[in-house]
Symmetry: C2
Subunit: 192 residues, 2 copies
Amino acid sequence: MSVQERKERERANRERLILATARELAEQQGWDAVTTRQLAERIEYSQPVLYSHFRGKREIIGAVALEGAAEMAAAVRAAASAAAGPRARVTALARAYLDFAARNPAVYDAMFQLDGGLAFAKEDTPEPLKDGFAALLESLAEVAGDGVHPGLFTEVFWAALHGLATLTRAGRLPPEDTERRTELLVDRLAIL
Amino acid sequence: MSVQERKERERANRERLILATARELAEQQGWDAVTTRQLAERIEYSQPVLYSHFRGKREIIGAVALEGAAEMAAAVRAAASAAAGPRARVTALARAYLDFAARNPAVYDAMFQLDGGLAFAKEDTPEPLKDGFAALLESLAEVAGDGVHPGLFTEVFWAALHGLATLTRAGRLPPEDTERRTELLVDRLAIL
DNA sequence: GATCCGATCCTAGCACCGCTAGACAATCGA
DNA sequence: TCGATTGTCTAGCGGTGCTAGGATCGGATC
C-alpha cells in the first residue's frame, strides 16, 4: 500500500503547510487578515480544501495554538535548565515566557486571546496545554513557599506573566520597563 | 433656539440608548451578537443612524469601554475607601477589580480584549482610562515598598489582576480558587 | 397659510466574511 | 479498458460592516 502511504504523507504535508501559512500570515498582518480565501490562495488550493483538514477557522487557530504551547513549553524549560539556582531559574522562566509572547504575538493570541475551541482545566484538555502548565510548575514549585500549594502558586505567577504579556502587547504598558517589572514580580512572588 | 436644544437632547438620548443597548446585548449574548443590524433593530432605527453617532462598530465598543473604565474606577475607589488599613484596602481593591470583571464580562472585554480603537499610555489617552489607573495607584502606592516606583508597582499589580481576570473568565483557571489566589497575590506583592 | 429648503432617515446595495452543495476530473482497482 | 471512488473546484448561501442616494419630514420665510 505504498500509494496510500504516499497520499497520507502528502496530506500531512499539506496540513503543515496550511498551519505554517496561517501562522505566517497572522504574524505578518494579524489574524484578521487570515481569511479562508486569503489562506486558500496562499497555499494554492481552493477554500474547500481547508475544510477537509479542519472543521473551520476556529480549529485552525486552535491547531496553531497547540503548536505554540509546545514551543513555549520547550522555550521555558530550556531557559530554566540553563540557569543555576532557584532565583535565576525563575527569572529566566519569566523572561522566556514574556519573550515568547513578544516574539510570537499572533501565536500568543491564538493561545489566549482568540477562540480556538480548546478545552481548559478539564479532563479533555489537550496534552500540549497541560504540558505547558507543567513546564511552569516544574520551576515554580520550588519557590512557592511553605504551606502554599504549588499549583495555586503557579496559577498566580502565570496569571501575572499573562497580564504583563497582554497589557504590554496591547500598548497598555510601556515596553521599555518590561525588565524592571519582571524583576519586581520575581522578587515579590518567589520565596527564595 | 429651544428647538435646536431639544434636538440635541434627543440626539444625546439616542446615543445613550445605542450604548446601553449594545452593552446589554453584549452581556446577554456576547459581542459577536452585537451586529449593526441587530443593534439597529433593537433601538428601532435603521443601521445608518448608528453611523451618525459613531464612526463604526469599533467606536461603539470603545465608548462602552470608557463607560466601563469609569465604573470600575468608582467601584475600586469605593471598595478601598470602605476598608481600614493598608492591607484591607489592597485586598478590597483586588476583590473589587476581579468582581467587576466577573460581573461585567462584556464590558471588561470591551476595555481590554477587543479593539475599541483607544489609545493607551500616551498623551491622548482618554481621561477615564487614566483615571482608572489612578484609582489603582491611590491605594497601591502605600504598599509599593521602599525604593520601588509606585507607578511601576501599580503596573505589575494591575497586570496580575488582569491576568487572573482574563484567565479565569476564559476557563483557564478554576473559579472556585479565586479568593485564595487573591490572598496569595496580596500577601506576596504588597509590602505591609 | 403656502412654499421652500435643509436636516434627517431609510432603502438598497457594495465588498467581504465563513462555510457548503454539487459538478467535474483524476486516479485506482478489477 | 472500464466503472467506481476519491479528490478538487466552481458557484453560491446567508451573514458581516459600512455607505450612496433618494424620500420625507419639520422649521423658517414670504
